[in-house]
């Protein structure tokens, strides 16, 4: 890190308004990664300028490149010609990513550079997606280009803070860093939760003092910031991870007085699409190295333009996770052709999928489901989960789990727990009840199917029934 960058970062970290930092993270970019991202950026800009999206031919080249490097590719393509039998190539499922990762990772890659970015846990089937700093580094030009389409000109200098990511969780990592791919511009990830601050007024002061060009976050955190009355006007807001409804987008735009850009991005792929500046109901495919197909829910065949189906992705730049017709579990439709906004990459309309869900403690305080996901994701016995709140204090946690976790043992007398399970279940139940507040009751149901489907991870039927009765 250059001395001038360090000085600027120190100033931000040691600000009297700073949150309680709990980790120290950098972008992990080394010289060869830097060159890789610069080349990627160049190719990306050329592709956008020339309107050369990643089509099937490019996807076939990508598949051929990986056919003899990844055992998984080799097996999936057994007896098939990538060119002649493209639509017969079996899909990669989320379950494959959970169970066959060691086959997917190409041979000869250096495992030492592997990083694991945890997902926010919006689906109940956590996937550990190995990634490489250089592939994560590519988020910088992709996101900068996206906000550029909304008039933001990123300032590549250490005095500038490009982005602050907002979270609203009981517990999450909070850190600040500089991004070498953005000329040393600063970035911070902060938690809006009061636990994260020495004084409640510090949050707004810190953001104003840092003066980030953009705010990023999921709709849940962005709404929380708005409800707190955060008085800051960024140049743009970049929203990911959960569905951003039209009404929330408009409210956020009114409150923060800036464009709010809905983006579609997955841990497994990186950024996929961003909202069209002319028609935000549609998103343009963002990168030049992802091939998107829409697959019929009924037949599994490729849907022609204009039909709704599951979004399937081939390609990418993550050296540990080349994707071969990966079924994302999300649904949408795809359209081709020129667009008034000037970006002629295919347009994607995402179907309602990952709606933000809120849980409430018996005494009214909101709980971010991501905190629930964090507990369940880290439990080695749990493969898939779904959490539902059905009264003001009652929750059911459905899990597909290991035999050890699922088998029932005789409950010891004298325990006050309502769990009818074994020690592992009781431990989980207590951990969840501690998060969900005094008086909450969590039942554990071990009959949740492990079917690889992207199920809603969080349901609040109590809140839904209250809304209906109002």
């Amino acid at each position: 890190m250059l001395e001038s960058w360090k000085l600027e970062l120190d100033r931000l970290v040691k600000s009297r308004f700073a949150p309680i930092w709990n980790v120290s993270i950098g972008d992990r970019i080394e010289k060869e990664d830097f060159d890789f991202v610069k080349e990627f950026h160049l190719a990306f800009c050329q592709a956008k300028t020339n309107q050369m999206e990643f089509d099937r031919k490019a996807a076939i080249r990508f598949i051929r490149k990986n056919q003899y490097l990844s055992l998984f590719f080799k097996n999936q393509l057994n007896g098939l010609s990538p060119e002649d039998d493209f639509e017969s190539i079996p899909f990669t499922t989320r379950e494959d990513l959970q169970t066959k990762m060691t086959e997917i990772i190409p041979v000869m890659v250096d495992l030492n550079r592997m990083v694991i970015n945890p997902t926010s846990g919006t689906t109940g089937q956590p996937i550990l997606a190995p990634n490489h700093p250089k592939a994560i580094g590519c988020y910088v030009p992709l996101i900068e280009w996206t906000v550029g389409r909304y008039g933001v000109i990123p300032k590549h200098k250490p005095e500038s803070t490009f982005a602050i990511q907002l979270c609203y969780q009981e517990n999450t990592i909070v850190y600040a860093t500089t991004h070498s791919l953005a000329g040393g511009a600063k970035f911070a990830k902060i938690n809006l939760h009061q636990n994260s601050w020495k004084d409640s007024s510090d949050l707004e002061n810190f953001i104003k003092e840092s003066s980030p060009q953009i705010l990023t976050g999921d709709p849940y955190a962005l709404e929380a910031a708005m409800k707190m009355g955060l008085n800051y006007k960024p140049e743009a807001i970049h929203s990911t991870a959960l569905e951003l409804t039209d009404s929330l987008r408009k409210k956020l735009e009114q409150h923060f007085e800036c464009p709010v850009i809905n983006s579609y991005s997955l841990n497994e792929t990186g950024p996929i699409a961003y909202a069209c500046p002319k028609n935000p109901d549609w998103m343009h495919i963002l990168p030049h190295d992802l091939y998107v197909e829409i697959i019929s829910d009924k037949t599994g065949e490729v849907e022609p333009s204009g039909n709704v189906g599951e979004i399937v992705i081939t390609g990418g730049r993550n050296p540990y996770l080349p994707l071969l017709r990966y079924k994302t579990g999300d649904r949408g439709e795809l359209r081709y052709g020129p667009c008034h906004c000037g970006d002629n990459f295919p347009r994607l309309r995402l179907l309602s999928g990952r709606k933000p869900v809120y849980f409430t403690k018996p005494y009214g305080e909101t709980v971010n489901p991501v905190d629930v996901a964090r507990i369940l994701r880290r439990n080695p016995h749990i493969y898939q989960f779904q959490m539902e709140q059905f009264t003001n204090k009652d929750f059911i946690c459905r899990v597909s789990a290991s035999h050890e976790f699922s088998k029932l043992t005789k409950q010891e007398e004298g325990t006050e727990s309502t769990a009818q399970g074994n020690t592992l279940q009781i431990q989980l139940q207590l951990e969840l009840e501690s998060l969900l507040g005094f008086g909450s009751q969590v039942q554990i149901d071990t009959n949740f199917p492990l079917d690889g489907k992207k199920q809603p991870a969080f349901i609040n039927s109590y809140a839904e029934s209250k809304e209906k009765s109002q």
Binding site: V107, N117, Q165, G217
Partner: protein, 183 residues
């Protein structure tokens, strides 16, 4: 050339009891076996002596191969002695390391086929009614060295898989690289 089954049968019928491996001179054995092929020239066929070989399984395998190549009815055409020498000095010890005792060649039809195909592959011969592609394909499917390679690869793959999983678990405990958005 005759069909492969003819040569396999020769190996399976090799007269084990007619050979005293303890006293046999491999140089003499090969000199006799190749005399007719060498057009009666009396100088040694090979550039180095085979008598230094003491491993009983290697000697036994030499005896089997000499027996097959000597057979005048086997219709084996001309071949390059240099290639045969290379085969005897380099490939045979490797094969004997994987298939032993040498009597295994004579007891198992698949092993007999492996031995004769390994010889023919080295001296560039293809049995009757076979294409080169078929010959190679069939040889690969029964080649003990190939199988060992696959096993080694599998073992390496398993070790690599364990290493990947270990690293993934460890990396999750650590922290990832900073990125602007969340997913």
């Amino acid at each position: 050339m005759l069909e492969i089954r003819y040569y396999i049968k020769q190996i399976l019928n090799f007269p084990i009891l007619s050979v005293d491996l303890a006293t046999v001179s491999l140089d003499a054995l090969w000199f006799d076996a190749l005399l007719t092929k060498n057009k009666g020239i009396l100088s040694p066929v090979f550039h180095q002596s085979l008598n230094k070989i003491t491993d009983i399984n290697v000697k036994g395998t030499h005896a089997i191969l000499a027996y097959v190549l000597f057979d005048l009815d086997s219709k084996i055409p001309e071949y390059d002695f240099k290639k045969l020498e290379k085969y005897l000095f380099e490939v045979v010890p490797e094969l004997c390391g994987l298939v032993n005792p040498y009597t295994e060649w004579t007891k198992d039809a698949e092993r007999a086929e492996e031995l004769i195909r390994s010889l023919f592959q080295s001296i560039d011969l293809v049995p009757a009614n076979e294409t080169k592609v078929y010959f190679e394909d069939r040889y690969r499917s029964i080649d003990s060295r190939e199988r060992l390679r696959i096993l080694e690869q599998t073992k390496k793959a398993q070790e690599r898989a364990k290493e990947i999983l270990r690293q993934m678990k460890q990396k999750e405990e650590e922290e990832a690289a900073s990125k602007y958005n969340r997913e």
